[in-house]
Amino acid sequence: MNEPTAGATSTRRSSRWLMTLAATLAGALVWLALRPAQHELDDVTDARVGTLVDLRLTGQRGIFSLASLRGRLTLVYFGYTSCPDICPTSLAATAAGLSRLTPDELSRVEMVFVSLDPERDREPRLSEYASYFHPKIRGLTGTPAEVAEAASRFGVVYRKVTPPGASDYVVDHSALTYVVGPDGRLLAELPHGAPPDQVVEVVRRHLPR
């Protein structure tokens, strides 16, 4: 190891670093203070929030539509069962949130897991996968056209990709959890991996009285 810059040079260099760092941090603080009021994490500024959303897909017990759940708060997540990380992280966190609700609260909440990979995700595997996280979570999918229709209603972006070096295709996908109100309106969107406490807070805030 070559260490020629001892003493003064290195001290001067590190103090310049520190000054740059301090200036940048000060800038960041000013930005933090001046930017618009912080949105809550679930208040994603999506034009769809407030609009009516629905989906018509197939579950283990046949055709299913969100409209059939009117009167209850419904959480909707789009993913696929071959997803080893993102989907389980979100589903496990949401499920942990559901488990913290009282039985009465839980009786007014539903959750669906929509598979964006109908080719591979078939019943009964899909429902087994979904309900593993929480018995309240039901698996749904449909024909590729039906899935595409459902995804577009929620603004979900997804794409089947076989990246170089991968042995099989993966599905790139939006990883939000959608909160649909008892009247079928999209109320909020939870970010990927929203912690259980946030799930509980959002559910309680929107739960029908």
Binding site: W17, P84, E128
Partner: protein
């Protein structure tokens, strides 16, 4: 997104600064380069319906040269790939990577939402607490055997 720029720079600097300002005396060079140290390995417990899972761990490189994890194998899966996640415009993209670098004197953490070892086509069901034997191969030819327990997802 120019508003994010100052923050981004701050974070970047924050991660660089300690390395440039603090200069601890280098440890005496060992005659044989120490290999990568693995800690906290685990394999994620998945629903029985799932045929895939991910392994996570921390790789620490006490040596003076960057090391690259270039391959992982296990008898618990037919295919093993090194992966990362890219989060772009709200879309999660899982992508294979040719290697996972561990900087000299630093560490690399494989964790949910980022780098992971993906186990595809599991050869047997995952059971909580059971050990999955992983073999990690590095670019310097060194090979490490790791026993990773199967752990449930524990959100908090």
């Amino acid at each position: 997104m120019r508003l994010f720029a100052p923050l981004l720079i701050a974070f970047t600097l924050a991660s660089i600064a300690p390395a440039s300002s603090a200069e601890p005396a280098p440890a005496p060079a060992p005659s044989v380069a120490p290999s990568v140290i693995v800690s906290d390995p685990y394999v994620r417990l998945m629903p029985p319906a799932s045929t895939r899972t991910a392994a996570f761990l921390v790789l620490e490189n006490p040596g003076p040269k960057e090391k690259k994890l270039i391959r992982a194998t296990t008898d618990a899966a037919k295919v093993v790939e090194l992966h990362t996640h890219v989060h772009e415009d709200g879309v999660m993209k899982m992508r294979p990577v040719p290697f996972i670098g561990v900087p000299a004197g630093g560490k690399t953490t494989l964790k949910p939402g980022g780098l992971h070892i993906m186990l595809i086509d599991l050869t047997r069901p995952l059971v909580e607490g059971h050990l999955i034997e992983l073999t990690l191969t590095f670019d310097d030819g060194s090979v490490l055997a790791v026993s990773a327990p199967v752990r449930p997802i524990n959100p908090h």
